[in-house]
């Protein structure tokens, strides 16, 4: 044993890294690369109603519940009762945490009109209160929400500023990880220049309205001594508190599977080395209206459920019953899988909730239902609720999330007439592993559907076009007639086949 230990490479003394504490807020720890700086103050600024108080309170609640760190909430705006009520709607029971001695709340209230200045003073009273609250629960975390209220209450700004500087130094000396909230100023981070005192980590919350939907966003303005994400990340506030997207730390390091799953269409399997899609890959079926994209999706769902796997079907244009009914018309009994709990539908128009919310609810549902196959039908209507790059990055995160879970995802995308065929509305074809293209061919007064595999990574797939038939027994693929220099489909193909048969017989 001893020898083995000696053989180990001696660890070179590493540089002291900035210590951080996890906030426990979904996604926030990822974009801050591990949470807020430990034992230092973090400034959270933003406009009214952007979620500053919520972020701060959730930081305390998660600390108390998940990391065993008690906290102090010094509230300058809301009193205890208001806080209890407001936070209850987000699932945080502050009163219980207080009883359990994991949280102390002090509501600091001051009315300037009641106060008369008569000589020298300092803010020792506030210090004593904060210290008392910290001692009473043994706090490691503290929130001052919103300390700027003092600027309205204390007549002498010089005293206030020097006392604030003393306060922040005191917080650091106590080793408290603090969150200071502040209202955003006109052209400045905070109205009263608090960033002058709290300079270690500054987080900005924002509220933007575009296309009539409002999106909350969070951005890390600065983080001394740490790497961090630099873009504006959308975030949501729902009944479980705050969650910042990305929901998972996305890297391209998910495990890939060599296992294959059936497409549900025998001839399509045959086109893919006879085995079908890769398990956990992403598949895109694009095409103009009425080319059979949904039918292909339904086949995949049916095939997954017959193997006993769960399938989540996100239908954002049709109701669940409508999909099931349409499935019946092509010989697929989807209602059977529904009653057995293998097939679950999620019907929601993304326009109803906004892009982020839509994807977060999908994320939650995936976590709950744990499907093996997810179908997005269609993804093209996402573009109605966000701008190109936004939708693209959202979908990319979503697909990466599926991949990291080993979930096979199947997306359909509508190509509008007049658009280039080999183009998807939301521009995500490059991140797809398999791309099936469906199209119409008009020939001698007849319209027929054809399908081909535009790409399929990691397999030797067929490059031929197939005629795509939707029958009462499901989708069928037929060889198209390639002969005498022409491609024949539909009636022309049948006629040609007949002709050749006659020749054979003759």
């Amino acid at each position: 044993m001893a020898k083995r230990k000696a053989n180990r490479p001696v660890a070179t003394p590493s540089l002291a890294k900035l210590k951080k504490v996890l906030t426990g807020i979904e996604g926030l720890d990822e974009i801050t690369d591990g949470g807020f700086p430990a034992g230092r103050p973090t400034l959270v600024c933003g406009n009214a109603g952007c979620g500053k108080t919520l972020l701060a309170v959730e930081f305390l609640v998660r600390g108390a519940q998940q990391y065993g760190e008690a906290g102090v909430l010094v509230s300058f705006e809301e009193n205890e009762e208001e806080l209890y009520e407001n936070m209850a709607s987000l699932g945080f029971d502050l009163r219980r945490l207080e009883i359990q001695k994991k949280l102390a709340i002090d509501h600091v209230y001051l009315e300037r009109s009641e106060i008369e200045e008569t000589g020298e003073y300092d803010l020792e009273g506030l210090f004593i209160r904060i210290n008392h609250a910290v001692q009473s629960v043994g706090a490691k975390r503290i929130v001052l929400d919103t300390i700027e209220a003092l600027f309205g209450g204390i007549p002498n700004e010089n005293i206030l500023r020097s006392e604030l500087r003393r306060l922040f130094r005191w917080l650091k000396d106590q080793g408290l990880t603090a969150v200071i909230t502040a209202e955003q100023g006109d052209g400045t981070l905070t109205r009263h220049g608090l960033e002058e005192y709290v300079a270690d980590c500054v987080i900005m919350l924002d509220h933007q309205v575009s296309e009539q939907t409002s999106t909350r966003r969070v951005r890390i303005v600065k983080y001394r001594g740490s790497t961090h994400g630099t873009i504006q990340y959308p975030f949501l506030i729902d009944e479980n508190g705050m969650s910042v997207l990305p929901l998972t730390s996305i890297g391209l390091n998910h495990k890939v599977s060599t296992a294959r799953i059936s497409t549900g269409i025998a001839r399509l399997d045959a086109m893919m080395e006879g085995k079908g899609y890769f398990k956990g890959s992403s598949i895109l079926a694009s095409g103009t209206a009425g080319t059979g994209k949904t039918s292909m999706a339904m086949h995949l769902a049916d095939a997954a459920c017959s193997r006993g796997e769960r399938c989540l079907y996100i239908a954002s244009e049709e109701s669940a019953d409508q999909v099931v009914r349409n499935g019946k018309s092509i010989g697929l009994n989807l209602s059977k899988w529904r009653t057995r709990g293998l097939l679950e539908f999620k019907n929601a128009r993304p326009t109803l909730t906004g892009l982020e919310k839509h994807l977060v609810t999908i994320h939650k549902q995936v976590n709950q239902f744990d499907p093996k196959v997810v179908i997005f039908d269609p993804i093209s209507n996402m573009s109605a609720i966000g701008e190109g790059a936004e939708v693209q990055s959202m979908l990319m995160r979503m697909l990466d999330f599926f991949k990291s879970r080993g979930i096979t995802s199947f997306c359909t995308s509508l190509t509008h007439g007049g658009d280039a065929l080999e183009k998807t509305e939301v521009g995500i074809s490059s991140i797809m592993d398999t791309w099936l293209l469906l199209r119409d061919i008009e020939y001698s007064g007849e319209r027929t559907r054809v399908m081909y595999i535009l790409k399929s990574r990691g397999m030797a797939h067929s490059n031929q076009m197939r005629e795509f038939l939707i029958t009462s027994k499901g989708v069928d693929l037929l060889d198209i007639y390639v002969g005498s220099g022409r491609v024949l489909t539909g009636a022309a193909r049948a006629a040609q086949e007949m002709k050749e048969k006659q020749i054979d017989i003759g």
Partner: protein, 96 residues
Amino acid sequence: MAIDEKYVLKLYVTGMTPRSARAVMNIRQILDEHLQGRYELEIIDIFQQPQLAQGEQIIAAPTLIKKLPLPIRKFIGDMSETERILVGLDLRPKTD
């Protein structure tokens, strides 16, 4: 205002700092001079009793609170500005 109205006052200080001592001395002097025999002054050290600071919303120190007669009024500082205190205690009309 009745001439014999009783004053109830509380002075919150933080330990025996020079400023605290000054505030106690100053306010005693003012009260003895103007309200001889009809005031009650309680001096509270919030170092010793921090929970009282929360209840009375004390932020600055020293803080004097006039509980009675109503309305309640707060004074912050070392009580060195006698004129302001007298006006605030309604012992002298406000002069512009």
